[in-house]
Symmetry: C2
Subunit: 500 residues, 2 copies
Amino acid sequence: MLTLKHLPIASFNENIVYLNRNCAAYKTDDINSLVKIEVHGGIKTITAFLQIVDDEGLVAPDELALNDEAFKQINLPEGAKVSLTLSPVPVSTNAIKRKIAGNILTSAEYSAIINDITSKKYSNMDIASFLVASGSFMSAPEVLSLSEAMIGEKVLHWDNESLVVDCHSLGGVPGNKTDIIITAIVGAYGLAMPKTASHSLTSCAGVADTMGVLTNVDFDAERLKALIEENRAAIVSYDKLDICPASRIISNVERQIGIAQQEHIAASILAIKMAAGVTNLLIDIPVGPKSRIKSANEAMRLRKLMEFVGDMLSIDIDVVITDGSEPIGNGIGAVLEARDVIKVLKNSEDAPQDLREKSLFLAGRMLEFDPKLRGGQGYFVAKEILDSGRALEMMNNIIKAQGKVPQPKIGKLSRDITANASGVIEAIDNARINKIGVLAGAGQYAGAGIDLFKKVGDSVEQGEPIYRIYACNSTDFAFANSVVDAYTGYEIVSSDDVEA
Amino acid sequence: MLTLKHLPIASFNENIVYLNRNCAAYKTDDINSLVKIEVHGGIKTITAFLQIVDDEGLVAPDELALNDEAFKQINLPEGAKVSLTLSPVPVSTNAIKRKIAGNILTSAEYSAIINDITSKKYSNMDIASFLVASGSFMSAPEVLSLSEAMIGEKVLHWDNESLVVDCHSLGGVPGNKTDIIITAIVGAYGLAMPKTASHSLTSCAGVADTMGVLTNVDFDAERLKALIEENRAAIVSYDKLDICPASRIISNVERQIGIAQQEHIAASILAIKMAAGVTNLLIDIPVGPKSRIKSANEAMRLRKLMEFVGDMLSIDIDVVITDGSEPIGNGIGAVLEARDVIKVLKNSEDAPQDLREKSLFLAGRMLEFDPKLRGGQGYFVAKEILDSGRALEMMNNIIKAQGKVPQPKIGKLSRDITANASGVIEAIDNARINKIGVLAGAGQYAGAGIDLFKKVGDSVEQGEPIYRIYACNSTDFAFANSVVDAYTGYEIVSSDDVEA
């Protein structure tokens, strides 16, 4: 028996067990590869990955230390007596082997895999194996099985609502913060819209980041229900809701390995929205050569897949394919995006028209989830709500209900990037602009980002500023500068070519 | 700038950087997923995975701590000033995406992937992604590219030898320690045989474990050369040779995820033997329903693949397909296997005949690598060397040159497993026997293992012992006992059925 200790180290989802090299209960000096261990003593056995410590001050030979994640899961006090055994490879690993061999997996196999993931029996490398093995070869019924398995035990119920609506836009288009404007319009119309949103994973800002500039977004399920009863609409982050844990773990691994397959995106979005109790869901698939979805064919395949899974899960889905060829709005990064959103809601003269129009179009589609609204009327109702100031009023109510937050400032370091030729902007590379913004610190610092002065079709003179980069510290600023000079992401057709 | 500190924690190949949650140089409180960081200050930038610490005693806000692996790689003293930046996803990740999409990768892409793996830019989950993505879909030229990339910078040269021979047996057959007997025979014949061997990863004993019972097996390249000059033969572990690092890292991940594809096995074996400077290599592929390679077709495919890659790498390969339907010899686990090996070398009356015959057959094939030996004579020469005691003499010389080690004892806990019916042993399940042995502690403790009293074709009476389990501690003993009762791994055809 060993004595339990807590080493306050957070390892992002993985359980770690630390043993002294001269551990009294387990011979560690022969171990030359990663070992998975089961720790016994709590109500539930936990699984953790072994690391060896050579300092008795950190972990003594008669101690067993756990990191934050594992210590929380074992739920015992320091000083408790625990024992350990080697952990076998999880049985569901056989399903991964079957998938590699090209088989169709059963619903039970997907359940077993997701259970092993959420109970931390899988390491991140096991999860990566599963994602890569299943990525390109999932049938539509398999995507349904995966989505069902991911929903999880905790589901929000909206007993007083017949319609609970939400929207989700696939990533890859910088600045695309229509969701916040849509929520204000749909809430003002009167539909219940508990908009759940995520923080940035690989982009310059998630919806939760941009909304987080304006108001608090961290609420649990009870508080979210109260917000909806008060205002009909709210915009909250997934973090405190604590629903669909498998989705978060899988996204984290996808981000790390830089690989995200359509099948997993479809399964994940639908599982999250099912867990949030949504009855009617609008999906926006922006298509563009440098967007996440690159062709109309690909978008259509994803649309059909999501429609199939949605129908089977009895969630009413409307999938819209939109133009994702260039950024939406001018601001990229939480502070700049929040500025654009407020300009649109205030009907300011300099509000970005592309952001306004896309928001109205999508909000119109959402309003038509209401059976009482005549087909084709959604857009005009949405426009009336925005133009009349009712959407702005709703946003103010949402901010008041969710609570003020300290206003983050725009980055103190900035640089204007100028046109290298006179002419017309022919294309803007979403992926490049996103990369420059992320290097400048966007996604991590609300005040970092890019403010676009020119969009596709605009004329520029050589030397005229096309966008401005903002950073909050000199390291990020230097990084962004080091890549922007190689390629700005803007394609300019020179006036000479146009005339010729 | 932060002050460098070493946290003496070993993490099995992965670099970890520890920052205090209130780090002075990097905002960590918003981070909710694994982050890869580059640490600057040493001659070479190193890449490490971030973990967050909440204890100033472990890591202060102005400190940056590294685990064993990362501290060794950065090669700076504690107290040095270092800085950090976020690490981009390695460029070679694009090749993994191309592989998932079904493409043939180029030689340059495999080089880039392996370089990123050995320089620790890949996490274990990145490596798992690569292995799963490439596993089932590699062309023969791709396996060649992977093998070439894995060879690495450090290659042993044998300037005084025209022939340098070695052998390798694919796993899955418990007790299969022909390699040690072959080395004694081939060395006695006079060919240079620097036999390189590995410790157990998932089996009851690797060749290095079994040989480690008899003598020291840890030598660097210089000492190995001296051993070969002295005796013509030696058996050493890969560990201190420090060749082909990619192979070790990849095997470690394969073991963890429980997935090993033929293409990687072929590439890995050939890369290791190339790095060891081998000119002529015998490969033994045991085939059996519960062996690693399960069918003759599969074995033939692997043989052709290894022949192709070997020819391209200009290593002379002889691939032999053998019977892997049941364990070879009686002892399973390092101490028991070493006993069997010595019995064969001593020509003892109770030496396992299957181990003897297979060793002679394979040693004969190896001897025929010598151009001076007439085809078909190898077996008889090998038999003469073994029967005359020259192989035993060579083994004694090898043990004397490599040095004595403390003799590990057989496990003090044991239990006889008995036949549940009278009849004839029809089959022995390799995988089951291996599992029971590993649970009993074999692979970790030299003295743990299984001693088989009956083999396929033997008659048994109900209640007669069929094998004995040995364990070194009560936890392992209990584990082995808990599974053996469900299924012993022995199939017995009852005498009644045979008579009927």
